[in-house]
Subunit: 417 residues, 2 copies
């Protein structure tokens, strides 16, 4: 199959001056790719009517689908709607259905609607409105030549909501019979995993694909089929079997989820509780765990023991251990894990103590040295990792490594709590 090609256009001056990171484009790229729709190009441009027109027309010339986001709001610098009129050579008309929806939204919140907000119900006559259940401005859909163009608000929640509700059903029809599965892999390098899955080479083609998506010590592995012939089906399922057989030792999840979500699901299944003691990660691990809605079912909480006094007073780490071995040591990591487990009454506890830099490294314990501890009812142990040289990367790697250690410990334990 030839494949469906798409382009993404992000509109907003804030993207060009670096005020906002373009997470919308990443989200859209991820979603489109899951439907087997290849993203050819992402463009970010300012709120400028003629530029918007030119970029949409250029993208439409080389794509089957163009997703545009931004510039639909109520302020004078939101000109995307006008640019669409320029492209389609049409006027705007008040869409009474959209206006009623927007007015209802304001009434529900007890806010008086102003004229500017009402203008968001103006829809280019040659475009179709995509109702917005998450905000005011409706999305727009129209065609330029053979390309389908969708225009969405720039607010992430609204963009994602309309895309999911209104556009995905239409893309399904366009992309045909596509299926994919994303695995979360940990504890092996990308090239190591590729060696393990060497036999996959004979199964892959343009319509059965395997993508390695590494970041900070984890790999997302995505298998996909595009099309539904017997041959495609057979190779796709042979690929899934191969991943299960050869990659099994490193598979953390066969759902498309974060490591924190996979761990949370496992802890909830086993009815186990977790506590954390963080030094160099400073709260990052707690933040990742509690980013998952419902994490209160298994996460009791943690201690950020940044100062040695906190390690002593709150976690009960013996001052002699700190004096003899230093804060970044097997002994202190173990004592932190045991201490936090006891303090919170958790089934399992993790600890992290390391040197995130840029200062604090020594020849024996250079920047990047991280000890991770794990305590359960009957056992405590710690491992040392060397996690690179840059502070943010060291912290992210340390957090991922700690969560993976807990996942593996719980996964491999046969008994519940």
């Amino acid at each position: 199959m030839a494949g469906v090609i798409s382009s993404v256009i992000s509109i907003g001056d804030e993207l060009l001056v670096g005020q906002v990171v373009n997470t919308n484009a990443a989200w859209l790229g991820d979603r489109l790719t899951r439907f087997g729709i290849r993203v050819r190009r992402v463009v970010a441009i300012g709120d400028e009517r003629s530029t918007i027109r030119r970029e949409i027309e250029a993208a439409a010339a080389g794509s089957d689908v163009v997703i545009v986001s931004g510039g639909l709001g109520p302020t004078h610098d939101d000109v995307t709607r006008d640019a669409v009129c320029d492209i389609l050579g049409c006027d705007m008309d008040l869409d009474r259905g959209q206006l009623a929806r927007i007015e209802r939204r304001f009434t529900e919140r007890g806010i008086t609607i102003n004229e500017r907000s009402r203008l968001q119900a103006m829809v280019p006559t040659a475009a179709r409105a995509l109702p917005n259940d998450y905000g005011s401005a409706p999305g727009l859909a129209f065609t330029v030549g053979a390309a389908r163009v969708y225009v969405l608000p720039g607010v992430p929640g609204e963009m994602q909501g309309i895309f999911t509700d209104r556009i995905i059903p239409e893309l399904h029809e366009l992309a045909g019979d596509v299926e994919q599965r994303t695995f979360l892999v940990s504890g092996i390098t990308e090239s190591g995993l590729a060696d393990e899955l060497m036999e996959s080479m004979a199964l892959l083609s343009a319509d059965v694909t395997l993508a390695y998506l590494p970041s900070a010590g984890l790999i997302r592995l995505r298998a996909m089929r595009l099309g539904a012939s017997t041959d495609v089906y057979e190779r796709y399922h042979a690929l899934l079997d191969l991943i299960a057989a050869k990659g099994g030792r490193w598979l953390v999840s066969d759902r498309d989820e974060t490591l924190a979500a996979a761990l949370g699901r496992l802890l909830a299944e086993r009815q186990m509780t977790l506590a954390t003691a963080e030094s160099c990660t400073g709260g990052l691990i707690g933040e990742m765990i509690t980013d998952i809605p419902g994490s209160s079912a298994y996460y009791l909480g943690g201690v950020v023991s940044y100062a040695n006094s906190a390690k002593e007073n709150i976690l009960g780490v013996a001052p002699e251990l700190l004096a003899r071995h230093g804060a970044v040591s097997r002994e202190v990591a173990e004592a932190m894990a045991t201490g936090v487990r006891g303090r919170f009454g958790a089934d399992i506890a993790l600890s992290v103590t390391g040197i995130a830099g840029p200062e604090g490294g020594t020849p024996e314990k250079p920047v990047g040295t991280v000890w991770i501890g794990l305590a359960t009812a009957g056992n405590v142990r710690a491992e040392r990792f060397m996690l690179g040289r840059e502070r943010p990367y060291i912290r992210q790697r340390a957090a991922n490594t700690a969560l993976e250690m807990v996942w593996r410990e719980v996964h491999n334990s046969t008994v519940k709590r």
Copy 2:
């Protein structure tokens, strides 16, 4: 002045499939804007030689400066160097200086250099190598027509390092006499601030600008002058005076820094220590504070008291308070702040307890309700905030609001500790 125009091109398949968020483009947009160089357009494309050539040539046609990042690595899908040869119509040659530098890098780490890594010292003969003190592949500089084109590695640390060391000095010369100051403003809306600074309208022009950069309850306010005439100088300094006079109440910093950095600097100056008790933010505040190198000088640590049992056992919140008022209440926020301050022996402590959703809201305490507490030696108090409806936004707003409350408390206190 006409202004210098730039374009940014980010190269890498990982950007198109949404595996990686394009933080490089945001970083470059921010840096270029600071030099008064307008970013016209950001494009992300895949690792495809002909596409890279086409995009660089198209960007060069409409820009004075083109910054390209990505595709200089050692693997077979890194083809940016080849695309540069196509553009310049030249071959590549081994740059012995660069090779020596790369070999030294490997030797220092005790790694044997392979042939692929050696290839990174190949430089298109019509381009100039920009030495890389942060990794292997050197950057490249060349001209296409009147445009200066710079090509950098995609690894953020290397990209930022080479840009700062090698390119900024050249941009200085190109952009002319540019000066800017960025203020951090908190506790006022963007439109409220614009009203306060109404008189600035008379001072602004194409060469004296004022930008409002809001995010999650904070505003970065950036004043800039482009050019050095007496008139420009006078209006720029009148603008700075106006900001100090009218915006003073809301100014957290007149340096370009994060809220956590401004707070850290203030705490260090006052020789005060801080502890945190986080519930719905789950460690985010600790993570933001410890993101700043050197934060151990003032941050003792914190407790993530996600479960009520943790609030009771570790922070000493009375069970009756939790039973009578609920975990999200003034009383519990105050008890958490007092408790964590005592546990850590800190000069000042903050607490956050709220409903981040999507579950857990009630008519009396809907999702978005957050209580923030503050405890010092002589005082404890808490304030309620309604911080929106989406979990990540609520958490970020809560963290910013809590850090701001501490900053204001310390800033307004006349005595040291």
